[in-house]
Amino acid sequence: MAKNKDVKTKKPVKNSNFREALHRFSSYRLALVGVVIIFLVALMAIFADIIAPQGPEFIDLEMVRKPPGNGHFLGTDDVGRDVWARVAFGARTSMIVGIGAVSVALSIGITIGLISGFLGKWADTILMRITDGFMSVPGLILIIIFIALVGPSLTSVILVIALATWPTSARVVRGQVLAIREQEFITAARVIGVRTPAILKNHILPNLLGPLSVVATFGIAGAILTEAGLSFLGLGVRPPTSSWGQMVNLAQQSQIMLAEPWIYVPSGVMIVVTVLAVNFIGDGLRKAVDPKSVR
């Protein structure tokens, strides 16, 4: 720990805590690979209109189930849509679901966790029992019931994934808050007279960022996977909006499964690669945030 190695020098050192964390992150090579892959997938999602100008919904009836070539870089699917375009726009769906679901889950989780951990006593008991209740219901069943009630759509997929995953973040937040609020700097803030909302905002939340970033990353991977799974089952994003899971769903037809792999392999590979990459980033973040963790 280089605690005060250059205290004598006039020039202030920028937050070197952050630098050390960055160093630990980048010393885990797979995390860097993950960052590169996610960067590329994100570019694909953002610039889908440019890299696949014909769009994912354009049907070319002359070109049904055609293998790669003939102006269709990855071939066409069973109704004559360009596979490359559908993969590119599927990346957009996955990103929106991943980030959207995690944002909603984290908002709920942070709120519940903060109240539970900081207020303690009966608020903690009640909120944590509710959280336990949610955790005790199998996620997939919760999701399927919810989808059956509100009907499948992008929004409902995001909401339902958030509904199934917020208890994890609430637990993490609560645990961290319990540890942080016992630190003396919280007592110091109380002695100064800082109001509770300001203590939460200025002291508790900033000290939560590290562990939260890890939870968020793994949450994104989980959300992408769940969306793919739901779309595969036909409970996710509705066609014609494209989704990787939906494209893999086509492999249920034996002719496509056996003879026309270009229709489902690219999206299957994208699911695997993206989820792996996000998980690698999560591992790297965990190493960066907690130097003591060995895994």
């Binding site: 937050n15 070197s16 110091a188 007279g193």
Partner: protein, 338 residues
């Protein structure tokens, strides 16, 4: 230096913590951390508070800043009663009393820069960020505690323990309090750094006329910095007098034992020194001994043939006439001891 206007009057303060109470469970018992303690701190005066671990000294300090809630008693700060105030009513009074903490590592938020740490009390109390001369208050505070104002943009982990403690002191000074509770501010520091921090506290006292409640277990340091010293045992004050009087003429058998444990930096004197070794451990504050809290270990009681009053009646702090100063002792046989 000191005049006789009291900053703080503590009367019959008790702090009890419930054991095992929950949402539906009732408390099984209470840890009686502090039992009807009374003392006064005058303006610009340093009152040392010594005692072994678990004697309740930190709890007193925390009760004054209302981090721990007093069970009963009264705390008058500049004439304002603090016991029973809501956090909202307490807030303006926090400008008058601040605290310096024991652990300079956990008492500063690792995510805040020094500037953010020092601005927080100013913003909380709507104080100007510039002083009358137009100087930045953060710079002024850092200069006051002997740190380079250029350090303001750094984070706590970039400082040594002594420097961090200076930041903690600067934070306490930001609201210009009349009283600072120093909760073992030097116990976590190296001996060489301890002297620097003690000297800083002393010079601040001279310049700003602040009063301190100086909580510590290092008797030598307490003697050096304190005007008066209170000795605590098991949640109660057993002896309270000026620091010279206490160290030259201790009257309570516990104080004598405590002082006899201080090593002397002279090998001849040190060898000849007679130590009073107390038998047994400090009793549990959940199950206080009857009568005098110290009677289970008191060498004086044994010497006097175990008088009954020690185990039946709790001795009050009484003033004993002395050559120099008032000398308060809580012992039925304070006269015998000298």
């Amino acid at each position: 230096m000191t005049n006789n206007e009291p900053v703080l009057i503590v009367e019959n303060l008790s702090v009890h913590f419930p054991i095992g109470s929950g949402l539906v469970r009732k408390a099984k018992g209470y840890v009686k951390a502090v039992n009807s303690v009374s003392f006064v701190i005058n303006q610009g005066e340093t009152l040392g508070l010594v005692g072994e671990s678990g004697s309740g000294k930190t709890t007193i300090g925390r009760a004054i800043v209302r981090v721990n809630d007093p069970h009963e008693g009264s705390i008058l700060l500049d004439g304002h009663e603090l016991v029973g105030l809501s956090p909202k009513e307490m807030r303006p009074l926090r400008r008058k009393v601040q605290m310096v903490f024991q652990d300079p590592y956990s008492s500063l938020d690792p995510r805040q820069t020094v500037r953010q740490i020092l601005v927080e009390p100013l913003v909380t109390h709507n104080l100007p960020l510039k002083n009358a001369q137009g100087e930045d208050r953060v710079d002024e505070l850092l200069n006051l505690v002997g740190l380079d104002p250029a350090f303001a943009s750094r984070y706590p982990h970039q400082f040594s323990g002594g420097q961090r403690q200076r930041i903690g002191i600067a934070r306490a000074l930001a609201v210009e309090p009349d009283l600072i509770i120093c909760d073992e501010p030097i116990s976590a520091l190296d001996v060489s750094i301890q002297a620097q921090v003690v000297n800083l506290l002393e010079s601040l006292k001279k310049r700003l006329g602040i009063a301190y409640l100086f909580i510590a277990h290092d008797l030598a340091v307490v003697r050096h910095i304190s005007d008066r010293v209170a000795v605590m045992y098991l949640g109660g004050i057993v002896e309270l007098t000026s620091s010279t009087e206490l160290y030259e003429n201790p009257r309570h058998p516990y104080t004598r034992a405590l002082l006899s444990a201080v090593p002397v930096p002279d090998s001849v004197v040190e060898k000849a020194r007679k130590r009073i070794i107390l038998q047994g451990d400090i009793p549990s504050p959940t199950n206080m001994p009857s009568g005098c809290a110290f009677h289970t270990r008191c060498p004086l009681r044994t010497m006097l043939g175990n008088p009954e009053i020690c185990s039946t009646e709790r001795p009050e702090l009484k003033i004993y006439p002395s050559k120099k100063d008032d000398h308060q002792v809580a012992c039925h046989f304070a006269d015998e001891s000298s």
